[in-house]
């Protein structure tokens, strides 16, 4: 497997031989191991070392062609460059992409944290221990059918023919534990948790185990919920998920493509309750997979998307920034058509709440723990959602697990009818968010 320096040198050499004067390349090399166990035995063990690059080539008419390859031999890279050059004949002429104007801008301070990988045997040992402990955490916990422990080293890089050269290495480890709990004469219940850490040693397996056990046991006391409108509290994880599903609202490429609930003129509009602020914060300390540059080489940074309920900024690539007269925000993904995506949401109350709402005192409120089937139940271009969920009905100081139900509504209306945002935020692998209270949404019980 060639290293980044070798790949860089090889690409420059190949491009020169092919008469390609303008190109860029983004790639990654990943070395990972993962294990799953079942009932005291290893179930599946995987290891891989993979590399992939995407090259863009500009022809003399400034049209761009791309090609992706995993064949990083001399001939493989040559084929990719040639294919990209051929594809450039079909590239767009209007609003064609160019190098990011920030591809050589300083990246700011950052720390590369690469931890040595533990032997696979240790992964198996730790996961078997976790399974055993989870099974003994409560007599009703019958099984841990879905589990996994993995570790990965990722090296990503960006170069272009103007001399830009970026590289970043990271490692991380992940554990997920999903348990099934059963009581005689009752339906089985399933729930779990997952954690990410920099290395196996720093991974909070015990915390994951405790959270998984508490959650699945809390769902044993289940009952049907009467269909109707309820005040709803979203857990941090659930709120991050639903926010992510409607990201077209602040995605500049979606807006330019007319594939958004917003338009270019939406900036400055109140789209949410003034209680809500939301930023994309890739360099947040809780973001272990933080990218310090995007796939165009642009440095990443914190972007205030919603401030006190007002749509403050879109997320941009260099292409959308140029078209909309803005600054690239470091959210570009390289491709034949550069796309835009967020890194790490940070949701927080705009101002500390003047009074406190408590889940313990909530009456007839639905607490949403997890949302499911977002790929099927979200109509992101219509603003609507209808999703099955795991959660509880909060009543008289008690939590009764909802047996099987859906939550439905309009996301834009949801944002505007936020009634309370907890001061305390939770750091999750997917972002940072507090519990968010919404006036009412439709709940359908099974």
């Amino acid at each position: 497997m060639p290293d980044v320096k070798q790949l860089t040198d090889l690409t420059h050499t190949q491009a020169k031989e092919l008469g390609i004067s303008k190109f860029d390349l983004y790639g990654s090399i990943t070395d990972s191991n993962s294990v799953r166990v079942y009932q005291g035995e290893p179930k599946q063990i995987k290891a891989s070392q993979r590399a992939s690059v995407i090259v863009r080539v500009w022809n003399q008419d400034q049209q761009v062609g791309v090609a992706t390859t995993t064949d990083l031999t001399e001939s493989g890279l040559q084929t990719a460059l040639q294919t990209a050059r051929d594809a450039s004949n079909f590239g767009i002429r209007e609003n064609a992409p160019d190098f990011s104007p920030e591809a050589q801008a300083p990246l700011g301070d950052f720390v590369e944290e690469v931890a040595p990988q533990a032997p696979v045997g240790i992964l198996i040992e730790r996961l078997l221990e976790a399974e055993k402990e989870l099974l003994s955490a409560h007599p009703a916990i019958a099984d841990v059918p879905h589990n996994g422990l993995s570790q990965s080293d990722v090296e990503r890089f960006y170069i272009n023919s103007d001399g830009a050269s970026r590289a970043q290495s990271n490692s991380y480890s992940m554990v997920y534990l999903y348990a099934k709990a059963e009581e005689p004469g009752r339906k089985p219940r399933e729930s779990g948790a997952y954690k990410i850490g920099r290395s196996l040693e720093s991974l909070d397996i015990a915390g994951c185990l405790q959270e998984a056990a508490e959650k699945v046991v809390s769902h044993l006391n289940y009952a049907r919920v009467t269909s109707g409108k309820y005040p709803v509290v979203f857990s941090p994880e659930a709120f991050l998920n639903i926010v992510g599903a409607f990201a077209n609202i602040w995605n500049a490429q979606n807006i330019l493509d007319n594939q958004s609930l917003s338009t270019a003129e939406s900036l400055g509009q109140a789209i949410a309750s003034p209680l809500l602020s939301l930023c994309d914060d890739p360099r947040h300390p809780a973001n272990l997979g933080a990218d310090v540059f995007d796939e165009e080489g642009t440095p990443t940074r914190r972007i205030d998307i919603i401030k006190q309920g007002v749509l403050n900024s879109f997320l941009h690539s260099s292409v959308t920034a140029k078209r909309l007269g803005a600054t690239p925000t470091g959210n570009g993904n390289i491709g034949a058509k550069v796309s835009v995506s967020p890194h790490f949401y940070h949701i927080y109350p705009s101002t500390p709440p003047s009074s406190t709402l408590s889940l313990e005192k909530a009456e007839n409120v639905i607490l949403i723990d997890d949302l499911h089937a977002l790929h099927a139940g979200v109509k992101s271009l219509q603003g609507s959602f209808s999703l099955p969920f795991d959660g509880w009905l909060l009543k008289g100081g008690e939590r009764v697990s909802v047996e099987s139900a859906t939550i439905a509504g309009d996301f834009r209306e949801l944002l505007k009818t936020i009634t309370y945002i907890d001061a305390q935020v939770k750091e999750t692998p997917n972002g940072v968010s507090p519990h968010v209270w919404v006036e009412s949404l439709a709940i359908t019980g099974n």
Partner: protein
């Protein structure tokens, strides 16, 4: 004296293998057989290599412009080692002998095994006669016969121009195409040695219409395996008619009122109900982890007596059709349920080893980075005896789910599907359009509520994601009635 035909491991560094680099053919037998022999000599019970090369392209037309063409070339391999019921899988992009030996070594070490020392003899691996499905069916010419980039662009632009003349209140119109050409070679120490070429193509529309606060987004996709002329033959005019009509209906539709209703599900992609509510739960990968309520129900009634269902990989050019699975086994036509009785599970090699259920040629994977797992192919409910009229007139008030979106099922049998286009049924007649519906329920309960199946079986392409990645499948069914199902809405 040991027979001279047996290879001593100390000779390995001096061996050269001249396997054809641009093609998987019989020249790969020698290096792979040697490596598998090494693996067996190290103590593995079974060693399997999966080699893959792909040539993929996707193209997007937005309004009247081609905005994206992305070719992608990949090459990779994986080795799977079984020791008893345990297994491990290691993958790489390096298909040289050294690269493949490296992943073999890593896989062996994961299972606590190591390559034999210098003087050990490596057993001979007797591979079967090379089964080359690509050669048998002359697939080696396919790639050159598919639409070149210029033609792809022309067809998509023509399709987008056509829908612009038909739909109203268009905010955005897109036509997208992909072609996935894949060459695979499977070699295993039990003798499997087989090659295939797969050509999967898909094209479709995404239409977004808006009128003030009213919005409708409708998608339609068609797909094919094995026809290089697929895109040239795409009847986009008919699809444009259909998508425009659906968008028009849904633009001003009311949101569905939630509740429990009898439901008629349309044929074709309506088959996603069986795929999610039952199909996944019949895969041995679920049995292995006790994640299916049907684990011990073979031979028992699990569905309504009017329900019969199949999973097969044989139908001509359907999206889930294969000439061999990703473990080198020819596919079968597997009867899953017959008149409500569970007959068979969907079984790959690991599932057979661990559960004892017979293999069905269902070992599939997205690509070389995954070990194969038991997955569906073309899965459908068989046609029944009822007419459409009988089904609709049996319902006083219900929902007609004309177009389904995707869905999922969890490990305790709770399923869900989104509905993209629905209508109210009143006194046996289809009345007003409805949107925003999600169907939820319990797999065991729903299978007993499918009480009427019509005669108009139709199939539709789909993409299924599970433990061995995203694969191409077909779902299907005739129009059918579900006696009662929870419809989530506002």
């Amino acid at each position: 004296m040991p027979p001279l035909t047996l290879l001593r491991s100390q000779e390995l560094p001096h061996l050269t293998y001249a396997a054809t680099p641009e093609r998987f053919d019989e020249t790969w037998a020698a290096p792979l057989a040697t490596l598998m022999g090494l693996g067996r000599a190290a103590g593995a019970d079974l060693v399997e290599f999966f080699l893959e090369r792909t040539n993929y392209i996707n193209c997007l037309a937005e309004d009247d412009t081609i905005t994206s063409i992305t070719p992608s070339l990949t090459i990779g391999a994986g080795v799977r080692i079984f020791k008893g019921k345990a297994d491990c899988y290691v993958s790489t992009n390096d298909l040289s002998f050294t690269g493949l030996k490296k992943i073999l070594e890593k896989a062996l070490s994961i299972l606590g095994l190591s390559l034999p020392t210098g003087s050990a003899f490596i057993p001979e691996i007797n591979l079967e006669l090379f089964r080359d499905y690509a050669d048998r069916k002359q697939k080696d010419f396919w790639l050159g016969q598919t639409s070149p980039m210029a033609e792809i662009g022309q067809v998509l632009l023509a399709a987008n121009a056509d829908i612009a003349t038909k739909a109203k209140h268009i905010q955005s119109r897109r036509a997208a195409y992909f072609r996935d050409w894949q060459e695979v070679l499977v070699a295993a120490s039990d003798g499997v040695f087989a090659r295939d070429i797969r050509l999967t193509q898909s094209v479709g529309y995404s239409l977004l219409c808006t009128d003030g606060d009213h919005r409708a987004s409708i998608n339609k996709r068609v797909g094919d395996t094995g026809n290089p002329q697929f895109l040239q033959n795409w009847a986009y005019q008919a699809d444009a008619d259909e998508v425009s009509e659906s968008a028009g209906q849904m633009l001003y539709a009311d949101y569905v009122e939630s509740g429990n209703y009898p439901v008629v599900m349309a044929n074709s992609f309506g088959g996603v109900i069986f795929h999610e509510a039952c199909g996944h739960l019949l895969e041995t990968s679920q049995i292995e982890t006790n994640s299916t309520p049907f684990i011990d129900k073979k031979g028992q009634q699990i569905a309504h007596e009017n329900l019969t269902a199949w999973d097969e990989g044989l139908s001509d050019q359907e999206f889930g059709t294969i000439d061999m699975d990703d473990e080198g086994m020819p596919p079968q036509r597997t009867l899953l349920i017959e008149r409500g009785i569970l007959k068979n599970f969907i079984v790959d090699r690991a599932g057979w080893i661990r559960t004892g259920h017979p293999r069905t040629g269902s070992g599939r994977r997205q690509n070389y980075t995954f070990p194969a797992a038991s997955r569906m192919r073309n899965t459908y409910i068989a046609p029944g005896d009822y007419s459409l009229d009988q089904i609709f007139t049996s319902i006083d008030k219900g929902i007609y789910c004309k177009k389904m979106g995707g869905g999922s099922v969890d490990g305790i049998g709770r399923f869900n599907f989104g509905v993209d286009e629905a209508y109210l049924i009143e006194n046996g007649k289809i009345t007003k359009p409805l949107k925003g519906a999600t169907l939820i329920g319990d797999a065991q309960e729903i299978m007993n509520k499918i009480s009427m199946c019509s005669q108009d079986l139709a199939l539709a392409p789909g993409f299924c994601g599970s433990i061995s990645g995203s694969i191409y499948v077909t779902v299907g069914q005739p129009h059918l009635k579900v006696d009662g199902i929870t419809v989530g809405g506002r």
